[in-house]
Symmetry: D2
Subunit: 314 residues, 4 copies
């Protein structure tokens, strides 16, 4: 039996090795975390190349403060992602940067009361000036005024908002421009959500939280194949999983990158395999659970995939 | 300096020791996980006893499939909790059980495809028959028909739904009966949410996802003191944190129980201390981060608190 | 199929509930972390009651600074443990306390350089005065002088050392008095180990690190059944696992309590099940992996087991 | 204050990007896991370039079954490492491969009893044929016969063993050939250790476990500066930390890569900062704790460092 298995070939690194070459080496070792990174790259490559596959990206965690914005933007721009599901926080931080603010390289070993006095908000070791909320309010008010008075779902609202974003290099703006469906079921749980509510107190604006369900379920139902990439779990993962559960096209490809654990039973840390029982994941699906900080795993995989996917294009 | 510190007194267990006595021993040891469990019990006791403190419970994770429903119900019934924020999943699983279904003791070492063929959905090592969704649909349709045609916020919707729940021993029903504000910003990301959407296709029902923000912020603003208990992070935690951020009454007491980690920057695993920079947590607040599976930590603390809090009542 | 499974009965806590009663409730819920705690208590009870079973305790991690010394002592005193394997660090901290020093309740949020200036060593949130090393040296020198000049194995050395310990309530002393085999393969990696080496520079003392292997393998070979309790992984776990591998009596019972993870392949976090492939664990063995901080799980289980095991004795 | 901080510049990946370029990008983002990987690469580069700095590598975990052997060999060969401390398991798996055996790419989702029947030992998702132990025994016997009858310390023993290793591309052989001090305090807790003990039953061979202490402490004392790289914690980390504690030259540079956590107080997961209190780490030291599966982090850093360090050499 063991003779039929591939040997663990030891990873050989070299000078000027590309990220793609490194992942090829990880593929040859094939075990533990490195093996999973390589498998994730393979599965993502396959689902992106598969023209009949809709690729869903469920993105949670502090990915914008964590320096991953450009990678997400590139994934959206390069056509890797067909449907984008994320948290209100990521969209808010993206918008804040598009308005000219920045996140800063801080430290978690600090007196938080001193930060508070200086008007600095901490996200682990990333700092953000609290004044961003003024800019956010000003921008939102103006943008909301241009919006129609009829009821929108969250996707439509975000597309309209995205069009007003002054910076071309923004997640929101790209989704709006490229008409990439963007779902954010817990938008009310974010800075943008607060602005919506605040504006609603005096103006007419109607955003429905339930109407997006139809759209995402429709996409799942009508596609030939589905592929999912979950980063950080949370509502974005669960929302895609739910759409898969209530359609007849279970996912054929799945990659999960998170440090959450399965034992306590929560959706964020649940192994992808569990989805087979629910009909969310096809029993023949290719999938892998990468247990890794996404700020490490995602850039590495992104670079390798650019290498692989752009090879033909030139 | 070291002379002024308390010694680590070793935990002494004994026959017929109560959970309260065990936590007293953990208090005397005072370090590592045991010390934090003891500190969490102390802080929770203080916030519950403090008549001028509003206690917020943010509950995420598979707490109903995980056997924690009764503990949550008791916390709500006994008046420990003033405001309840949770996921759609927990409310859905609670409702499912109230309709007469059960979760079962399974295993995670199983062929998920076989489970799928047998109509069993897996949540780590808990199993649930897939047929629950039929009962859920039937119940929801009937309950929704009785609802007003005017726009409700999610809290109002859940209270109305709770009144229809046939089992007295249900989280939803208790909140409805005791008029405990219940917030669920990502309700659309759940079985109940799907029923709302499905019903909306042919009937008139309006549930606003943004209007709850006013209520939770009002509660935070008007209370003299706020205390928070976060189990499992996710949207429930973030939603309370957001309300604290945009009020002037930062939390005076805070307890967090999760196995999520701070390093990747996400809200779920963020240390409570971080909230001080944002103005979510008072710089003089008493707080502790318990890194533990909540299905272990919560029952132990619950039992100890019943012992402490009911002492006087008799 | 699902009808044959036990229902998840929700944990009901009550006033003055004993730890044993709480674990009975966890047994009825039967899933996630709580279910594993209950299963661990059951398996430990069974292996302790089984007169023909040798119980091995492999103990790593900062259990003495972490306030768990008395629980270990009670396990040894009450006859629960037949063979004890641990790290040099735990024995050194035990000895330090037996010499009259203490560990203190500190904090991990502190300037470590200030601690250093004050002569305080930090172990997460436990503090220890650095002066303990003077007392340790003085005691060891005296104790070593009484030792035979012939070669001893580590177990014999530790028994001789244990006899000199001035405090009756010490792990080392109990093992010596009760003739409980105590193995510490990496003794040289500890304060006591350093004292051995230091003494060796000028005096004759011979401690063999390999000779203990015969003893532990003999114990495994000659017992009818073996049960293992691993806390914290490390060398203590691996050393017992190795003895099981090279005997013909694989373990019939196994409990592991650790927060280490399996994915990176290390022995500490490896699931017990893996041991079946190696012949370390019997394929019919009862076993469970508790993913929990041992300073929380062990006291709870200890209290419950005292309740169960002492019931009959009175 | 915030103006003086560096901005989080978003990681930009590109086609044919080298691993070094990726880490440069991570350096510009500077936060969360990616920031720590970049910092680790910088610190390791500095300590390797610093001619007056002795670099200690403490290596635990299943690094050979995990496909990392070549990376370790290159680190030793290229002169990056002055002192090597590891587990008996890593040396045993290295030796096993040098004898012509292999590890294989398996899976952790398997029936371990079936593996056992097929003579396959599982290390998470790596498989090893159990027959390796026959080859190991044969080789060891022969090698031990050539050894002197006088007492050796473990380092001397391993150097002698390394000379007999038939494969040039072996950790043991390289250390022997390059006279890199190799410490393995818990050697008895391994396959090689078992062979030593087994051979001792009928032949004369003397290996002292305490005598190595003098050597490692001497190295620490006599070097101008010390740098440490800890992978996976365990005895290898603790042994170097101990040598640093009892010398006057605390480490000036420190990098730790592990998924172990600090909260339960064990040495493996302890933050490096803690070492400042003990005098193991200099208060002005540069250090970082990378929370990541080493099979992912190490190859990436290795490739980047080859790029940086070999730039000048050509």
């Amino acid at each position: 039996m063991i003779e039929n298995l591939k040997k663990v070939q030891h990873i050989k690194t070299g000078k000027n090795m590309t990220c793609g070459q490194l992942i090829d080496q990880m593929n040859k070792s094939g075990v533990m975390g490195a093996g999973k990174i390589a498998k994730a790259a393979d599965i993502m490559e396959t689902m992106i190349r598969d023209k009949e596959c809709k690729v869903f990206l469920g993105l949670a965690g502090a990915m914008v403060p964590g320096g991953q914005k450009q990678i997400i933007i590139d994934m959206l721009k390069d056509g890797w992602i067909d449907v984008f599901v994320t948290t209100g926080a990521n969209l808010t931080h993206d918008l804040i940067e598009a308005l000219g603010y920045n996140h800063y390289q801080g430290t978690h070993m600090i007196n938080d009361d001193e930060l508070n006095k200086k008007g600095i908000d901490r996200i682990y070791d990333a700092f953000m000036p609290n004044e961003v909320y003024e800019g956010l309010e000003k921008f939102c008010k103006k943008a909301f005024e241009k919006m129609p008075k009829e009821e929108m779902n969250i996707k439509e609202f975000l597309w309209l908002l995205g069009k007003e974003v002054p910076d071309e290099n923004s997640i929101l703006r790209i989704c709006a421009e490229k008409k990439i469906p963007i779902f954010c079921p817990a938008l009310s749980d974010s800075g943008i959500g607060l602005q919506v509510w605040s504006y609603m107190q005096e103006h007419k604006i109607k955003v429905s939280a339930f109407d997006d369900l139809k759209e995402i379920i429709d996409i799942v139902w009508t596609s030939d194949r589905n592929g999912v990439i979950y980063i950080g779990g949370g509502v974005p993962k669960n929302y895609v999983q739910q759409a898969l559960q209530f359609s007849e096209t279970a996912a054929s490809y799945a990659v999960q990158i998170t440090t959450d654990r399965p034992e306590s039973g929560g959706s964020s840390g649940a192994e992808l395999r569990e989805g087979i029982s629910w009909g969310k994941l096809d029993k023949k699906a290719r999938y892998t659970n990468v247990t890794c900080d996404a700020t490490i795993a995602l850039p590495l995989i992104s670079a390798a995939l650019k290498e692989r996917l752009e090879k033909e294009s030139t």
